[in-house]
């Protein structure tokens, strides 16, 4: 509740006194961006983890850096050039995946490292090229969220949520069992491309807060944490979104006080949360051993019935 009223206060700065980390305008923008990132990254990450493509976000992040560099070089908005280049990269990754060629991972390696190397070189060539600028894109920096960016990020996040939540039944079917989905008559290729492009958009959204090198963690770690506690797909989706928002906001707050890179702070918090849940579920499971035995008995009874 405290977090909620803080957020409300952000929207009405004239209201109650804000906690210190929310007083600077750039921090207010950073927190709003963090909330949006916390919503979008686990929403897309759930599907990537389900089809065992957990590191796809990482690859797209590498390619997105090239888009940022192009934007800086051409004096265009880095967010939009990153969206375009990352989407092209995501489509290329999807095509390689669909073909399932044996040389596919080599092709992906060329794409990823070509993307990040090209990005580093081009940022160096641009007017605003500096190692500080480069680092802020690689690992996230609170001060890079410009006022104009916030609206762009909000629109892109809404688009990602519309796809991941609105089409959840169809995307679930495709990620669970692609061949079945084809025979069910779903437009599998279109859905796969939509998912890949949503992942690219999410990477771009998350770039300012988490940085292109660490985005994948915010897509994957909340999902890995949530699925230790859930039995169903939809429950995992919603719980990982909740965890994503919590990690992102608390990580941004931590990075303000500790003066650390926001992306790294968020990721370390997420990993700490994962470790905590792992230990807790292990302890709870150990305490429940007798129940497990009852469950196995049920299975045995079920089999006996089947034989009758």
């Amino acid at each position: 509740m405290a977090a909620l009223s803080n957020f409300a206060a952000t929207l009405h700065p004239a209201g109650i006194a804000l906690p210190e980390f929310l007083q600077p305008a750039f921090m207010q923008r950073a927190v709003v961006a963090a909330i949006l990132v916390g919503l979008a990254a686990p929403a897309i990450g759930t599907y990537l983890v389900q089809r065992r493509l957990a590191l796809m976000g990482d690859g797209i992040g590498h390619v997105a850096l090239l888009g940022v560099a192009l934007g800086l070089l051409l004096h265009a908005s880095p967010v939009w050039t990153a969206v375009v280049v990352a989407a092209l990269g995501a489509i290329a990754i999807e095509v390689v995946r669909e073909r399932g060629a044996a040389s596919g991972d080599v092709a992906l390696a060329l794409l990823f490292y070509g993307g990040i190397a090209g990005g580093v070189v081009l940022i160096g060539l641009s007017d605003s090229g500096s190692s500080a600028n480069l680092l802020s894109y690689l690992f996230g920096s609170l001060t890079t969220v410009a006022p104009g960016d916030l609206i762009t990020i909000a629109i892109l996040t809404l688009a990602v949520l519309a796809v991941t939540v609105g089409l959840s039944h169809a995307l679930f079917a495709v990620c669970q069992d692609e061949e079945y989905a084809k025979v069910a008559g779903l437009p599998v290729r279109a859905l796969n491309l939509l998912l890949a492009m949503s992942a690219a958009v999410t990477v771009t959204v998350a770039m300012r807060v988490v940085g292109v090198l660490l985005i994948s963690a915010l897509m994957v770690v909340p999902v890995a944490t949530a699925q230790q506690l859930t039995r169903g797909f939809r429950a995992t989706l919603w719980l990982s979104i909740l965890l994503g928002v919590a990690y992102a906001v608390s990580g941004v707050a931590f990075s303000y006080y500790a003066d650390t890179a926001s992306g790294a702070s968020i990721v370390l918090l997420a990993i700490a949360g994962f470790a905590l849940v792992s230990v807790l579920t292990a302890v709870v499971r150990r305490g429940r051993t007798p129940e497990t035995e009852i469950y196995e008995d049920e299975v045995a009874v079920g089999l006996a019935d089947g034989q009758a």
Binding site: S168, E179, A181, L186, Q227, G232
Partner: protein
Amino acid sequence: MNDSTPHQPPRRRPGDSDRGHLEAAARTGAEPVDGSRRGADKDRADRAADSPPDGAGSLATLDESASPGLADPLQSEHFAAASVGELDSAVVALNGRLVLRRISAEVKDGEVVAVLGANGSGKSTLVRALVGLVPLREGEARLFGRPLSRFREWRRIGYVPQRTTAAAGVPATVREVITSGRLAYTGVLGRLGKSDRIAIDDALATVGLADRGRDSVAQLSGGQQQRVLIARALATRPDLLILDEPMAGVDLANQRALADTLAALHASGTTILLVLHELGPLAPLIDRAIVLRDGRVVHDGAPPPAVGHHADPDHDHLHPHAPEEPGWLR
């Protein structure tokens, strides 16, 4: 016309939207593991009000369909019926190797057809080509008389892929997996209506998992996971059910449960095409067997009798298959 013949299972005409066969399947008492059927019975009662003619037809023939495995001489007449699945001179090459060498095969309305053959003979590829999962280099595949490229009625097909597990990277409940079977009706937005929920409940009940809907599929045994995949196909209320090695990795008790479920579906008019390594507990159900060797059809007719150790219906089949395979497979 056919429906007047007492010995034949109730049959639906193409385009018959109202389907009573799951009801019939549920009533033949074939369910293996049974917990709670009450919810499903209530839904069925609701549906019966909507569809008196078809539902009544299913019930009227219950006595005949109770033992569908028995050979029925009158059924052969019925095989003049329409083709529901057909490969015409199909050639398939995978990774530069010819897997199907000009195969022509057909499944007709109401049949139970087994595709048999050793590992690598192309039997899985045959059904995958039929539903468009592998491209044809030559020839044509047709479903319900239409070339695959123009076939749109995917809701008439229930496909059970070859699978050792129904689980993926993220947990999913039994019900969530089966809900995918309704996407052929709901489209990509996937909004579930009452008829969708009824179909899902029926499919769960038919495979005897009515009380496991909220469980994670990863918690189920291999045989139960196979039944989840069959239920997903049944939720589509298919006219043609295609199963790719449904008995692989399934213990004998679950094999028998599956055989009973399929017998009930067959009795209610569903056409069934199975890829099998051996007939096993399904033997009494099979009308016709297509035997493949090295990508060619070497037998298309009565199912071959089981010989030797396999002739014993209760034989344990826990050993790997590989040593039985002749050398030309490699």
